[in-house]
Symmetry: C2
Subunit: 207 residues, 2 copies
């Protein structure tokens, strides 16, 4: 038993300590889901990897669904911060285009694949996870759509709803496809893919 894990220990009242315990569980769960899949990983396996008793983990998460929901929320917050940063730029659409080399490389990195793939597979069959994923996507789309609309107005381009929705979903589809592509073709050369992504993205953003 880990020294930080005392029998009967309850959820920390200190929010910073509670946050650290949550982090500890999430890191362990990411490792276990990556190794055994969401269904294959047991709470016992996660508890062992976290160095915390299953009972202690249940003070923070009432099961694997709650853990995967925390990953979805974490990702929304990450993407939201990225979009707020983009929004603060002088020319957000051009910045998005200039940022393609970094964002493509980032999405191709192996460490980034596993959890999104696992969450998507689980959302395709678990209605509770599906609801959370749909809500997360709705919030991200609202933020992205506002940036796309303002950016296209800035460049004097059409901003009707159907155009915005189509362009936005196409762009997200391209980036969401990257972990799938990298899983199927792990040796792909990022350079020509980046050039092609920039070509397609330029058309989707600026035409």
């Amino acid at each position: 038993m880990n020294s930080i894990d005392k029998p009967g220990e309850k959820r920390h009242h200190d929010p910073e300590k509670a946050r650290l315990r949550c982090r500890q569980v999430l890191d362990a769960a990411a490792e276990c889901f990556g190794r055994s899949g969401f269904h294959g990983a047991s709470m016992a396996e996660i508890s062992k990897a976290a160095g915390m008793s299953a009972g202690h983990i249940y003070n923070y998460f009432d099961g694997k669904d709650a853990i995967i929901i925390a990953f979805v929320e974490e990702n929304v917050q990450r993407v939201s911060a990225m979009l707020r940063d983009l929004e603060s730029q002088a020319d957000p659409l051009q910045t998005m285009l200039d940022d393609v080399p970094r964002s493509v490389r980032d999405d191709l990195a192996r460490a980034k694949w596993i959890l999104p793939l696992e969450i998507t597979a689980e959302a395709s069959r678990n209605p509770k996870i599906a609801d959370v994923v749909h809500d997360a996507d709705r919030r991200t789309r609202a933020q992205f759509c506002a940036i796309l609309k303002a950016g296209r107005e800035q460049h004097g381009l059409p901003v009707d709803d159907a155009v915005l929705e189509g362009r936005m979903n196409a762009i997200i589809t391209m980036f969401q496809g990257l972990p799938v592509r990298a899983t199927h073709n792990p040796d792909l050369d990022p350079e020509p893919l980046i050039a092609s992504f920039q070509l397609a993205l330029r058309t989707l953003l600026f035409s």
Copy 2:
């Protein structure tokens, strides 16, 4: 026990009957993987859904890995037939572009998501499945690349290796992203997405 499933029954010597038994197992497995995930579905569950004893199934597939490998091979054959058909057209690149409404709708259909998502998630963590998926992708890319090269030559466009590889991987990424997009945003309107896909694909094929 199902009437077709006699104790100790061996693999059929009649290839057509063996093919039918394999199909029966694959359909049952697709249903079980879709409901419980690859790791969640047991051979017992698959055997029950197929109406065959587990022992009888093992005459055809030596476990869940062998079943998922059969799905991968089935998909390669499906895509290969589609690409051969494309190759036989007078203008394959234009045909690919004209075919976007059908192919996008097809990839967005719920029944089509589950297995590819499950296979990709499993390939991200199971080296045996990963090897099979990489080999399948290599064969499909070789076939697709030849069509892209001939098509671009037909239109007098550059065909150097890096351009071909980048365009091809970008196009496959877009289509592989569709089941992911549909899982996250199941209510998306296909029409504007199709228009955006055509716009991006036209640039990737013809510039």
